[in-house]
């Protein structure tokens, strides 16, 4: 190791997946000197499973990471070959932008963006061990590589995905590794287990990859790209990659019989896999086992790249033996002649109970150790990227002595996820869902920049281009809102062709938006405004107005909770000493270590009576402390 007074880097990131890349990029944007360590330089930014970015809840996360000037949304736009706005017929708050990506273009974009980021060095190597300032210290000093080289740094972010103790299962086959054809990080896993961190196993899976040249596309219904012009990133001007279509097929009774015939050879049902898999992304054998009465399950056939014949069959994640996989694929319409290029498999891997982390994803009890992504028990590129952003900002803020941006459940999905993870832990791989966000009406994918870019600018995570683009947008937004402050009556609106109830009186134009027939465009004709506003700004303001009464109500709710956010709880609070808490509550609270009373209220199973008891004890403890002082 070099002199401890001038370490090689400020922050080392282990892992070049979506969490690692986002962590490295944000820390470097903020001015920290960053090293990104990966097994293989050319797998950085790889999409290991589904070639898609976004979706319901996940699309929100992508837009929020983008609002912090992150890289995932731009990479998605650079690679998008199919666009779909999910829930397009429903309110904007639950609309989820989703794209399918050309894997190669995506990876290339990520690598290009990282290369263009100053302060960021990419190192190829296997992380072997965390280094501490002394043998008994919990303070990070750097990282040892498998070739015994040492790199010094004040912080290490582990973003190792499924590679920590990863084990692959397919029928009777067993392989060590985090992804097919790649090693797993066994030595690092041993050290972390030895360090006494709470760890457990989770499971996930991936479907077989099909040869697109052997699919009878003409026999299958098409799902075209949506033909719109929205993009994932606010910085992308227009769609630039040719768009393709996907197709749909279905499982049938015959498919289900084939799957049942192979269940006894499945590692999932033979008891070989202990880890809990995701309920919202079950393997096809799980689906048949649990919901066998269904007559079929829809399968999307998604091309993996423009110049590749790999096709991803979305919906048949499986670890059945290869011969069963072939039979089940060929039992579906359009796939009778289909060939499998790579069989599906299940991965079981170590994760760290995220309740051992704080809200910046730092491991409690250590100085300078962070975890982000799948290692924390989540699933999905988007969830990983968002955690990378938080851990990267957390480590950089700490080193640069800046306050963390004030993210909370009322302003971002990112904070909802982090808060869920560190307070509740996980029992299955955690996936973002809009149902998890209680203030869903405020947290739309289309207003992520308005919500969060000011925080990004404040913490120094936004580059100059982002800032000037954002200020331009805000100027437009303000101009539009002020154009809508004029008052109008129902008659005025009726003359503009808007049929609204006449008894609503005279209101500011913007207030009329709560009537679903009223649009911003129509209101601008009433106000005779001549400035041309961008479609996205008009849509955003329209949605703000549409749900204004509900949002105001939620604001009152948030204010109520804010009072409890101000009541701090010490991290060494002895929940066992509080009478009336059940053992289960004591365990959950002790693991989660909520830092405020409001956070304690969110821990699952904590009742108002328990909360009141915690409050009393906290006050008593602080009274004693102040008496002792």
């Amino acid at each position: 190791m070099k002199s401890r007074f001038s370490p090689d880097f400020d922050i080392i990131i282990v892992g070049g997946g979506h969490a690692g890349c986002e962590a490295a990029a944000v820390a470097a944007r903020m001015g920290a000197r960053v090293a990104l360590v990966s097994f293989q330089r050319d797998t950085i930014g790889a999409m290991s499973c589904n070639p898609a970015i976004g979706g319901l809840g996940k699309g929100h996360l992508v837009r929020e990471v983008d609002a912090f000037d992150g890289i995932i949304a731009r990479a998605a736009d650079d690679a998008a070959i199919h666009y779909r706005m999910l829930n397009a017929s429903k309110g904007a708050a639950v609309q989820g932008p989703r794209i399918q990506a050309d894997r190669r273009l995506f990876k290339a974009s990520v690598q290009r963006q990282l290369a263009a980021t100053p302060n960021l060095t990419i190192l190829q190597g296997e992380a072997a061990a965390l280094l501490f300032t002394s043998e008994t210290s919990q303070k990070i000093a750097g990282l040892r590589l498998a070739d015994d080289g040492e790199i010094s740094a004040a912080a290490v972010i582990l973003a190792t995905g499924t590679f920590l103790g990863g084990k692959l299962f397919r029928g009777e086959e067993r392989l060590e590794g985090g992804r097919i054809g790649e090693n797993s990080a066994l030595r690092l896993a041993d050290q972390i287990r030895g360090a006494g961190l709470p760890m457990a196993r989770l499971k996930t899976g991936t479907p077989p990859r099909l040869d697109g040249r052997t699919i009878d596309w003409a026999a299958l219904p098409e799902q075209p790209s949506d033909g719109g012009c929205w993009t994932m990133s606010a910085m992308t001007k227009r769609r630039a990659v040719p768009e393709v279509f996907c197709a749909m097929t279905r499982t049938n009774h015959h498919t289900h019989d084939i799957i049942r015939s192979g269940l006894d050879r499945s590692p999932l049902f033979g008891g070989d896999i202990q880890g809990q898999g995701p309920r919202y992304c079950p393997s096809i054998e799980d689906k048949i086992f649990r919901f066998g009465d269904r007559d079929g399950h829809q399968i999307f056939l998604e091309p993996e790249a423009l110049d590749s014949h790999y096709v991803y069959p979305n919906g048949i994640s499986t670890s059945l033996p290869t011969d069963i996989q072939i039979a089940l694929v060929q039992s579906m319409p359009g796939l009778a002649q289909c060939e499998i290029i790579v069989s599906g498999y299940a991965v079981e891997y170590d994760y760290i109970d995220p309740r051992a982390l704080d809200h910046s994803l730092a491991v409690c009890g250590f100085d300078g150790l962070y975890c982000a992504g799948q290692i924390n028990g989540t699933t999905g590129y988007e969830e990983a990227a968002a955690q990378g952003l938080i851990a990267g900002m957390g480590a950089a803020c700490r080193l640069l002595d800046r306050p963390m941006p004030a993210l909370d459940r009322s302003n971002s999905y990112i904070a909802v996820m982090i808060d869920d993870l560190v307070l509740q832990g996980v029992t299955e791989p955690y996936r973002m869902l809009t149902a998890r966000a209680e203030y869903r009406l405020r947290l739309r994918a289309d207003n992520a920049a308005t919500r969060l870019t000011p925080l990004a600018i404040e913490v120094g995570a936004a580059g100059e281009d982002r800032k000037s683009a954002f200020f331009g947008q805000m100027t437009q937004r303000d101009a539009l809102i002020s154009a809508l402050t004029d008052h109008a009556t129902a008659d005025d609106l009726a003359r503009a062709g808007l049929p609204v109830k006449a008894d609503a009186g005279r209101m500011p134009l913007i207030d009329w938006l709560r009537f679903p027939v009223v649009t911003v465009k129509a209101l601008l004709t009433v106000s005779r405004e001549t400035i041309a506003f961008s479609e996205s700004i008009m849509a955003e303001v329209e949605q703000d107005g549409r749900y204004a009464p509900y949002i105001q109500r939620q604001e009152a709710e948030i204010r109520d909770i804010a009072a409890n956010e101000r009541i701090g709880l010490p991290s060494n609070f002895d929940y066992g000493a509080i009478a009336g808490l059940s053992n289960e509550m004591v365990e959950r609270l002790s693991l989660a270590r909520p830092d405020t009373l409001a956070a304690a209220a969110r821990v699952r199973g904590v009742t108002p009576a328990a909360l009141a008891a915690i409050l009393v004890h906290a006050k008593r403890a602080s009274t004693h402390a102040s008496q002792a002082a």
Partner: protein
């Protein structure tokens, strides 16, 4: 509220009595016992001790001491009971001595129960049940309160909560999964019907008479012109063998209230100033205005005036008191004939009052819903109605969330995870 305070209060009935029990609860409870008795007796074992005033060392009383250390006490805190001789002077002297001890103060109303709740000794609904039980004076009140402590109410809400979670799961499946997955499209009609059904069930419970009626008693107002025999009737009712006249709350020139209990049912008899159409006396005019107010707040009116000229009220009982002989009655056959003097007809009238009263009180085997609980239930039912009227899935989901919040406020359960459990337990989702 400061939890560091130690509180005390006379916890038995008003002196004089054979014994009087003073409870002391809080961190300094045992220290207070030490100051008064010179020692701290063993926990949970009655011990006789002489109590002295810590300031002038005068003997206060010889008392039985009983100590319950935290957390296994009624309040969850250190709790001491002093069983004193029940004379007024003794009690007052001990209270004065306790008040002089630093960090001790007299308890506010309900403060022992509140501490028990705060220390997790009971949940909010149970705490409310207990406070009603402690206040219960009649058998009917006692049974309803016992039912609340027993958790009957929480069970009913639990059922609604499950139903609400199910409706919410259907809605969230539509929002979070339908467009990404092959979850069958939900029909807003199904959700709408389910919301209405649930709102109706909650509404049914809200239609039940209020807990406050059970606690405070049904208000029975005697009305009629001056000298129509109201006071005679009131006295006859109050003097009945079975009636317990507990207190004369206030005797004003205009309105007299007499709380009584007949067959376990709490009633408040109210005599009003006579109603006359014209009157010149401004003082009496005020009395009549108050009488009209009493009619408005009445649960039942015994009308002694001319038939059909009583106040407009859903529960008017025409009473004929003008004659002491049934044969000489003035009003029609529907009216109840009572002789205040001889007591004839009184039993039949009491039976009629009780019959009507039972319909107005929560059933003894049900549970009484108090104002706080009604508030949340009303909110839940309102949100459900709005959900059923909405056609935007987002608004439906938001109203369902508000309904869940309201039920959670009642029972203190349910987090988003419960919703997701229901969601994933119901649907085969995911790819």
């Amino acid at each position: 509220m400061s939890a560091a305070d130690t509180i005390f209060a006379l916890s038995s009935g008003a002196p004089p009595a054979a014994i009087a029990i003073i409870r002391i609860s809080g961190p300094s409870a045992f220290a207070a016992v030490q100051l008064l008795a010179g020692r701290i007796p063993a926990a949970r074992r009655p011990s006789l001790a002489k109590l002295y005033d810590p300031i002038d060392h005068a003997l206060l009383d010889e008392a039985l001491l009983l100590l319950f250390p935290a957390p296994n006490s009624a309040t969850g805190e250190d709790l001491a009971e002093l069983h004193l001789h029940g004379g007024r002077a003794v009690v007052r002297a001990v209270e004065r001595a306790l008040a002089a001890i630093p960090r001790l103060r007299p308890a506010q109303a309900g403060e022992f129960t509140r501490r028990a709740f705060l220390n997790g000794r009971m949940d909010l609904n149970e705490a409310e049940g207990l406070s009603d039980l402690l206040l219960a004076e009649t058998e009917h009140q006692r049974r309803a309160a016992a039912n609340m402590i027993g958790g009957g109410f929480s069970r009913a809400i639990g059922g609604w909560r499950e139903e609400l979670l199910h409706i919410s799961a259907l809605t969230e499946a539509e929002l979070d999964l339908s467009d990404e997955d092959d979850v069958a499209d939900q029909n807003t009609n199904v959700i709408c019907d389910a919301c209405n059904r649930l709102a109706e069930e909650i509404h049914q419970l809200l239609q039940q008479p209020q807990a406050e009626k059970l606690r405070d008693g049904l208000r029975i107002v005697l009305g009629g012109p001056p000298n129509s025999g109201k006071s005679t009737l009131l006295n006859a009712l109050a003097a009945r063998e079975a009636a317990i006249v507990s207190d004369i709350a206030g005797t004003t020139r205009d309105v007299i209230e007499v709380p009584i209990s007949i067959e376990g049912i709490p009633l408040i008899l109210t005599d009003t100033a006579g109603i006359r159409n014209e009157c010149g006396d401004p003082v009496e005019a005020m009395g009549i205005a108050r009488a009209r107010g009493a009619f408005a707040g009445a649960d039942m009116i015994l009308w002694l005036g001319p038939q059909g000229e009583g106040p407009n009220h859903p529960a008017v009982i025409e009473v004929d008191t003008k004659s002491d002989l049934a044969a000489d009655r003035i009003k029609s056959g529907d009216a109840l004939w009572v002789s205040g003097k001889t007591g004839a007809g009184l039993a039949a009238m009491v039976a009629e009052i009780l019959h009507r009263a039972r319909g107005m009180l929560p059933p003894a085997d049900g549970f009484a819903v108090n104002a706080r609980q009604r508030g949340w239930l009303t909110e839940a039912a309102g949100a459900l109605r709005l959900a059923s009227a909405a056609d935007d899935w987002l608004i439906i989901a938001e109203q369902l969330r508000l309904a869940r919040l309201a039920l959670d406020a009642l029972t203190g359960r349910a987090h988003t995870e419960d919703l997701l459990d229901t969601l994933f337990g119901t649907f085969c989702v995911g790819k």
